[in-house]
């Protein structure tokens, strides 16, 4: 082995390669590892499933472009909305994700559907500037924020947007977020308008205390999205990716274990030296 190759094959790089293999192989050759549906995802699903056709739903997005689970959830959620004929208004607080979500809607061919008409059954507002300030305004004065949709069509030309004055006109608020604290602070909803939350796995643990007081149901990132696809009976990318996630977590577990053993051995050696 040449010196150059030796330098290249550091422990860190070997782990990166192992991670890469664990992601690529199950994506190309799905292993079908079992996925059990958690109670929380079931509860989340039931909230949407229990809404009668024509119910009004507000979808608020506040997550990063790299949040794979939230993107997968976005695809599944819109399929669910269409299947149950729910009236939906959606928006996002990030410019890049708003564009990415629009692209997902393009891919699904949602804009020209006959059975789920744009402007009547659903509206995509796209990027809404102002962050937390805009969320507060949206909560209390819907019309002041929903002035135009993603394409710049004025709200007056979109019949669905005329039906709302504030959050109380919605039957359900769905939040998909990274920084859940904005919504925990500002979206104090009523029992008639519950808020459910799809939270990025990144912050899943710290968001737990807000369930069920603030968010009446919660779903956990990519894992939750895979469980959701099982409940929806429409296999998608989340199920395909769950094998990769499981394998990478296994690699991570064994890496951590190896690091602990290594650290223990080093300490033992140091103690022996000191005694000697």
């Amino acid at each position: 082995m040449t010196e150059q190759l030796k330098n290249l094959l550091t422990f860190k790089r070997i782990i990166f390669v192992a991670f890469g293999i664990c992601v690529f192989v199950p994506l190309v050759f799905p292993m079908g590892l079992p996925i059990s549906v958690s109670d929380m995802t079931q509860e989340y699903f039931n909230y949407i499933e229990s809404l009668p056709a024509g119910s009004k739903v507000l979808v608020l997005g506040e997550y990063d472009l790299g949040a794979a689970g939230n993107h997968m959830w976005f695809i599944d959620m819109w399929k669910h909305f269409r299947r149950n004929k729910l009236k939906v208004v959606a928006l996002h607080t990030s410019t890049m994700v708003a564009t990415a979500e629009k692209r997902l809607l393009d891919t699904m061919g949602f804009w020209n559907l006959q059975d789920y008409e744009y402007g009547v059954d659903w509206v995509y507002l796209g990027y809404v500037p102002g962050g937390e300030t805009a969320m507060v305004s949206f909560h209390d004065d819907f019309q002041s924020i929903a002035v135009a949709d993603y394409k710049g069509t004025p709200a007056s030309e979109l019949p669905l947007l005329q039906e709302f004055q504030d959050y109380r006109d919605f039957d359900l608020v769905i939040v998909s977020c990274w920084d859940y604290t904005i919504f925990a602070r500002q979206w104090v909803t009523t029992p008639e308008t519950p808020t459910i939350c799809m939270v990025d796995t990144y912050v899943w643990s710290s968001a737990q205390p807000f369930y069920p007081e603030t968010f009446e149901a919660m779903m956990n990132g990519m894992k939750g999205a895979a469980e959701y696809e099982i409940l929806l009976e429409i296999p998608g990318r989340a199920i395909s990716s769950s094998d990769a996630l499981t394998l990478t977590m296994l690699v991570l577990f064994f890496t951590l274990l190896a690091a602990q053993v290594d650290e223990y051995m080093i300490r033992k050696k140091v103690v022996r030296k000191e005694v000697a």
Partner: protein, 208 residues
């Protein structure tokens, strides 16, 4: 079969370029880095212009113009004074205004959701009828109390005898357990972020 969409080829070029940093810093990675920063700024600028049109210009030009929007837009424009060395201080009015709004929006609601809401949520579990849930609620309450004691830095353990020191040690242990339990979801989240571009490569670029 590989995608014929030129946009997807550019995306693949950028994704592979970003992953080359795992080997070492190189020109491909640097090109990708600069491209994505430039494209991100350009994209945000286009959106900003578009939203200014929707939220400011069109409402002022409408049949019932809201001239107050001009005042707030002027406050926003004050931030541009930062570009001047001589009049940079004017930009501070914008900063003060924004911070004032931010504080006003979050101060009251933070007390309600982050303090009152959390106390209620901690105690509410004690009314559970299910034995497991009740046990869970007791563990949560005990953890909150002991971790709270750990953060009472103003009291020296020696001053109040051994019991406070013992309680603080238990609080520290519980704090470490809590932090430890939040690490796996955090790492899973990181892996999810890494997986997003790879999923795109496999399904949208390679179309497997």
């Amino acid at each position: 079969m590989v995608s014929t969409d030129p946009g997807m080829w550019i995306a693949a070029f950028l994704i592979f370029g970003f992953f080359t940093i795992l080997i070492k810093d190189n020109i491909w990675f640097q090109i990708c880095q600069m491209t994505i920063v430039g494209a991100g700024v350009a994209h945000a600028l286009v959106w900003a212009i578009d939203r200014t049109k929707s939220y400011v210009i069109e409402p002022i030009q409408g049949s019932n113009p809201d001239y107050l929007l001009l005042v707030f837009s002027a406050v926003g424009l004050l931030s541009l004074f930062r570009l001047s060395k001589q009049y940079g201080w004017v930009g501070r009015y914008f900063t003060g205004f924004s911070m004032g709004i931010g504080l006003g929006l979050t101060a009251g609601t933070n007390i309600n959701s982050m303090i009152k809401g959390q106390i209620v949520a901690t105690l509410k579990g004690l009314s559970a009828t299910n034995t497991f849930e009740l046990f869970n609620a007791v563990v949560v309450l005990v953890s909150v109390v002991f971790i709270g004691i750990y953060f009472l830095f103003t009291i020296k353990p020696e001053a109040l005898g051994g019991s406070v020191g013992w309680a603080q040690r238990l609080g520290r242990l519980l704090l470490m357990v809590t932090m430890g339990s939040s690490v796996p979801p955090y790492i899973a989240g990181c892996i999810g972020y890494t997986m997003a571009p790879l999923v795109m490569i496999v399904y949208d670029f390679l179309m497997l």
